[in-house]
Every structure is written in structure tokens, then in C-alpha cells.
């Protein structure tokens, strides 16, 4: 049993071992091993030229990573916390995302941007955001997120192997969750949705930190005689919705759960697509449970902001009331 944070560390170590062009760069990633210790001991093993402690400037991290990628390297950048990615927003959305297209396909930008995201750790402002929509909305980027140690281990390696830029969201409040990791082979490709557990009455879709919540919700529902199918999206861009449509057609009821504000969040896009594809199979409108359309609140109030077991059960009750 290893933690999700350690699994990412192992995935990075394996990628660094297998490909000398892989670099890790970011604030405090070297000597300290990152503020969450995700890059712990990598610098002592691979050296300062490959595990790069950068100056404290996020645009600089991304901009120089782009230059390194143009030179043939595969940088894995760490943004220390979700709310600190905005100084690098131009480099990510206007440069990293668009340079392959700008070059008519001649330049490749195999850059991974790791972003610990989401709340639930009692943090100060800017340390608890779920800002995945900005990046999923930007053509040229791939966006993924893991919910468990095995996915963390394999998805990190798959992201590094991608010739496209990948924004890799890490559910920071799940860094300490433990599970088995199968180091033999990945069970899925990078851009595949996983059915976590099957059910017949309602489909509960989630990703990242709220997948564990969804599993707990399904357990409560089971006691109430409701069979909930839990899906872990894993890939936010491109979305892999074929298994979601199949599930929605089977159950007829869908609830989408994520920490990000529901307004224009991933759930809005998914609900729209389910409506287009599964209209005649639905017994209720697709419902969403997520953050409010507000700045992330102070830690003493975050339990009200974060969609939890009860709010999800409430949405499920409403879905069944139709």
C-alpha cells in the first residue's frame, strides 16, 4: 500500500530513469522535494541539472520549459498550488497550447504541468481552487486528473510520454490516501474513463478528489436500496464520454459531482452532451453537485463549499423524485 503522493513520485522516478530527456522543474522541487514531498529524493538521485529548483516565478517556469521542450527535452513543471498558476496563464494558454498548431505541426511541446488542486486541507487563500475548466477550455492542451495511487503512478508516466502538453491535476487532499499499485502494466490509457463500480439505478460521475466521496455515496445508497454506478472521468480534455452515455442509457439518471463551481464547470458540458446523446433514455434531468460560484471561502467555511456526501445524496434524492 502506498500513498497517492508517493505513487506520483514513483511514476516520475520511472520516467526519469527511462528517458534522460525528462526533467522536473519548479519551486522547491529539488532540495526540499516539493511542499508536498511529491518530488522527494529525486534531485539527489538525478542531479540538479534534471531536477531544477527554479526562481520564484511561474511564468518563468512555463516559458523556460517551452524553450527546453523546443530543444528536445520533456519538462515536468510543478505549480506549487492551483491558485499560483495564473502568472503562468499566458505561457500555458497562448504559447504552450498553441505552438504546435502555430508551427503547422512541426514543433512538439511535450510539457507536463503538475498542479495540486482542490480544497479540504484547511488552507489559506489561493491554495484550494479547482481551476481545471480554464485549461479544459483551451484547445491544444490535454487535461487529466487522478483519484487513486495506481492511476497516479501510471497516468504520470503516460502524461510524460505524450507529445502534447498535459495539465496534470493532483487531488491534494488525497495525497495521503493509500492503495495498492500494480507496477506491471497500466489498466487504462491516459484518456479513458473508468467505471469504478457498476450499478443500475443512477450514474454518479466524478473525478479527482471527489471520486472517493462518490464511492462513499454509493455505499450509503446501496443500504437504501439504490444501485449507483460510479464513474471516474480521469480525462477532462479530451473527455471520454462513450462509457458515460452507455451508463446513462442504462440507468436513466445522472448526477455529476465535482469541487469546481458548477457554473460553466465540466459538469455543464457533460450534462449537455448526455442530454444530446441520451435524451430518450433519461428519467430525470442531469443534475450537478459542485462548488458555488464564489471565491473559495476561508477554511472555517470550506465544509459548506465542498460538495460532500450529504449534498450528493440530496441531489440523488432529487433525481429520483422526478
Amino acid at each position: 500500500m502506498i500513498t497517492l503522493g508517493k505513487a506520483i513520485n514513483m511514476g516520475l522516478r520511472r520516467a526519469l530513469t527511462e528517458d534522460p530527456k525528462v526533467l522536473v522543474m519548479g519551486e522547491d522541487v529539488g532540495k526540499l522535494g516539493g511542499v508536498f514531498r511529491v518530488t522527494e529524493n529525486l534531485q539527489s538521485e538525478f542531479g540538479e541539472d534534471r531536477i531544477i529548483d527554479t526562481p520564484l516565478a511561474e511564468s518563468g517556469i512555463l516559458g523556460t520549459a517551452i524553450g527546453l521542450a523546443l530543444r528536445g527535452y520533456r519538462p515536468v513543471c510543478e505549480i506549487q498550488f492551483d491558485g499560483f498558476v495564473y502568472p503562468a496563464f499566458d505561457q500555458i494558454t497562448s504559447q504552450l497550447a498553441k505552438m504546435h498548431a502555430r508551427s503547422l505541426g512541426t514543433l512538439k511541446l511535450p510539457v507536463v504541468v503538475r498542479i495540486p488542486y482542490g480544497g479540504g486541507i484547511g488552507a489559506v487563500e489561493h491554495h484550494s481552487e479547482s481551476n481545471e475548466t480554464y485549461f479544459a477550455h483551451t484547445a491544444g492542451l490535454r487535461v487529466v486528473t487522478c483519484s487513486n495511487p495506481n492511476d497516479a503512478y501510471w497516468m504520470m508516466q503516460q502524461a510524460i510520454q505524450s507529445d502534447d502538453p498535459v495539465i496534470f491535476f493532483e487531488p491534494k487532499r488525497r495525497y495521503w490516501d493509500k492503495a495498492e499499485v500494480n507496477e506491471e502494466a497500466p489498466s487504462l490509457g491516459l484518456h479513458q474513463t473508468r467505471t469504478v463500480q457498476e450499478g443500475s439505478d443512477l450514474t454518479l460521475i466524478s473525478y479527482g478528489p471527489t471520486v472517493r466521496t462518490a464511492i462513499e455515496v454509493a455505499a450509503v445508497c446501496a443500504k437504501e436500496g439504490r444501485s449507483v454506478e460510479v464513474m471516474d472521468l480521469r480525462t477532462l480534455s479530451p473527455l471520454d464520454l462513450a462509457p458515460v452515455f452507455e451508463s446513462a442509457q442504462k440507468t436513466g439518471r445522472v448526477v455529476i459531482l465535482h469541487e469546481a463551481p458548477t457554473f460553466l464547470g465540466l459538469g455543464a458540458e457533460i450534462a449537455s452532451q448526455i442530454t444530446e446523446e441520451c435524451f430518450y433514455s433519461l428519467d430525470a434531468p442531469v443534475l450537478r453537485v459542485g462548488g458555488f460560484n464564489v471565491p473559495y471561502p476561508p477554511a472555517r467555511l470550506e465544509e459548506h463549499y465542498l460538495p460532500d456526501l450529504d449534498r450528493t445524496l440530496d441531489a440523488i434524492d432529487r433525481a429520483f423524485a422526478f
Partner: protein
């Protein structure tokens, strides 16, 4: 600004000076070649401006007046040295051997950058001000890791020095001793804003605060620019880190063909800078020292006309991109959603016959 440094080797009157700090060994043949470069680059720019006026280009960013800064620095590069331009470095592109018509694609609206940067070690034009200075620094960090003997040159303007990215690039390059030369063309104007609205100190002096040397060179003196850039590149190659070069020049044209400088600057300023023209002083030098005759100048004029004529036909005859190009190359690896959007749109288009829906 008389107390400020200004490296000069060829005076506006065409007199050859010497600067002990920047000795330049150069043959007459090389100076004649530089003269040819300058004339060709100006003729290219004049033709592109005309093409815009005639509706063949949507926009053009003129390099008029900045030919010496661009040609001098571009010719200082050796094969394998990588250049990161803004959107105005037509003279550097020329020196790097990028086919001139390729530079016009984005201005015509055919593409967002129509050349393979690896062919000539000349990156695509970058429109977001200053963003490319970080790419250049990262590329230089890659050169360091490859233990290569090459260097990188990052181009930007006086306005860009106010950008965070440029200051971050200075910081990264400095702490990592990255082999990059920061080449700032101070053309005095950022669209309508004079240099005084960007800085209270001479730009080259900013380098000191970042811990590397800065030098101001007469940006209209191709020989001085060549000498200063060569020295900075040599320093980068020797592992001594970055240099900031401020090429003191002037934007003789508008910011772009959409701009109207008469709204914000005086014609008198333009007249003063005309006396410092980068091409005239090389011509004066060659004539004054009997190093070129009328036949030489006429042959270059002829060559420039031929280049302009070919440029015109190349761009007027350029085909518009095919519709599928919207979707192609967004990703390097397969992307099912994009494929679905593409085929749906192509099917939609094919459902029309001569403007009628089938």
C-alpha cells in the same frame, strides 16, 4: 543622453572609427555583403508594405530603419545559434536564410507562422510581447545540458522591457548562466508610447541589477552591432552567461500598417533620424574609400527589384489553406473529439452543392 555609452564603429557620415573594447576584423568583401543585406531587407519591407496597401496582406509590421540592428546581429550568429524573434525581425530572418515569402503568410492570414523553425534555427514570430524571451532562455538551458557550443539570441523591443516575462527571463538566465543574448531594439516607440513612458533609466543599465553586463550600441551602425553581438555571443559560449544589448535605433515607419504615428510624434524627430540612416552610412563608407563602384550598387538594386518582384508573385499566387487546416495540427497525437468535429463540419460543407443544401 550624451553621458551614456554608445558603441559606434561607422559614423553616420561613413567614417570608420575604432572601439578598443570591440575590435572588428572585417574584410571589404564582408562589408559589401552587409550592404547588400541591408538593401535587400529594406526592399523586402517596402514591397511588403506596398502589398498591404494593395490589400494583399491584412497587416504589416515594418522593419524600416532597423535594418542594421537586425542584419548586424543576425550575421553575428553561427550555424546552430537559435534566434527567437518578435514579429518584426525580417532582417534577422533574412540573415538566417528564411525564404522571404514565408514571413508574409501570417500577415496575409494564410497561417499563424508558416515556416519550420528548425530549418533555419529561427523560431516563429511571437506576438505576445516578451513571451519569447523565456523560450529563448529555456532553449539556452537546453544547450547547456547538451554541452553544445551554440548560443541563443532573444529579440524584443523597448516596450517589452516593461513586461514581467522579460524580467523573469533576465532572472532565469542570470542565475543559470544561460548562453543567451538579450537583444533589445530600442526603436524609441511602443506604438504611441515613447521610451520615457517605459523606463527612467537607460535600458542597457538594467542588466546590472540582474547581474550581467549591458551595452548600448548604435543600432543604425551595422558594424558596431556585428562587433557587439559577436562579443556577447562569445561570452555566452564561454559559459559566462547572458548579456543585454540595447541597440539604439528608430522605428522609421508606423508600428504596423494600422497605425498612424502623426497622431503622437513630430515629423522633425523622423527627419533627425533620417540623417543616421543605416544604409546611407555604409554606402558613404564604400564610396568614400573607393571600395565599390556604380556597377556594384546598380547590381544590388537590380537584385533587390528581382527579389521584390518574386515576393509579389509568390504572395499574390499563394493558395488559401484548405478548410481541414482549422483542425489539423492542434494536437500531435490523435484527438477523437477534434476528429468528430472535423468530419461533422466537412460532411456539413459537402451537403451543399453550389450554395444549395442537398
Amino acid at each position: 543622453m550624451s553621458e551614456l555609452q554608445l558603441v559606434q564603429i561607422l559614423s553616420p557620415e561613413g567614417e570608420l572609427l575604432t572601439d578598443p573594447e570591440y575590435p572588428l576584423e572585417i574584410s571589404t568583401e564582408e562589408i559589401r555583403a552587409l550592404y547588400r543585406d541591408l538593401v535587400m531587407v529594406r526592399r523586402f519591407d517596402v514591397e511588403a508594405t506596398a502589398l498591404q496597401r494593395q490589400g494583399e496582406l491584412g497587416l504589416w509590421a515594418q522593419s524600416l530603419g532597423q535594418e542594421a540592428a537586425q542584419v548586424g546581429s543576425g550575421r553575428a550568429l553561427i550555424p546552430g545559434d537559435y534566434a527567437f524573434p518578435t514579429y518584426r525581425e525580417h532582417g534577422v530572418a533574412w540573415a538566417k536564410g528564411v525564404p522571404p515569402e514565408k514571413l508574409l503568410g501570417m500577415y496575409r492570414g494564410i497561417n499563424h507562422g508558416g515556416w519550420d523553425p528548425r530549418d533555419n534555427d529561427f523560431h516563429l514570430y511571437t506576438l505576445v510581447i516578451g513571451a519569447q524571451t523565456l523560450h529563448a532562455t529555456g532553449y539556452a538551458m537546453g544547450i547547456q545540458r547538451d554541452k553544445s557550443n551554440n548560443a541563443v539570441i532573444a529579440y524584443f523591443g523597448d516596450g517589452a522591457t516593461s513586461q514581467g516575462d522579460v524580467n523573469e527571463a533576465f532572472t532565469y538566465a542570470s542565475v543559470y548562466h544561460a548562453p543567451v543574448v538579450f537583444f533589445c531594439q530600442n526603436n524609441q516607440w511602443a506604438i504611441s508610447q515613447p521610451i520615457e513612458s517605459q523606463t527612467k533609466v537607460a535600458l542597457y543599465k538594467r542588466a546590472a541589477g540582474f547581474g550581467f553586463p549591458g551595452v548600448r550600441v548604435d543600432g543604425n551602425d551595422v558594424l558596431a552591432v556585428l562587433a557587439v553581438t559577436r562579443a556577447a555571443l562569445a561570452r555566452a559560449r564561454a559559459g559566462e552567461g547572458p548579456t543585454l544589448i540595447e541597440a539604439f535605433t528608430y522605428r522609421m515607419g508606423a508600428h504596423t500598417t494600422s497605425d498612424d504615428p502623426s497622431r503622437y510624434r513630430l515629423a522633425q524627430e523622423l527627419d533627425e533620424w533620417k540623417l543616421k540612416d543605416p544604409i546611407a552610412r555604409v554606402k558613404s563608407y564604400l564610396i568614400r574609400n573607393s571600395l565599390a563602384n556604380e556597377e556594384f550598387f546598380a547590381s544590388i538594386e537590380k537584385e533587390a527589384e528581382a527579389m521584390a518582384s518574386k515576393l509579389r508573385s509568390d504572395i499574390v499566387d499563394a493558395e488559401d489553406p484548405y478548410v481541414e487546416a482549422i483542425f489539423d495540427h492542434v494536437y500531435a497525437e490523435p484527438h477523437p473529439i477534434l476528429e468528430a468535429e472535423k468530419s461533422a463540419y466537412i460532411n456539413y460543407l459537402e451537403s451543399f452543392t453550389e450554395g444549395e443544401k442537398k
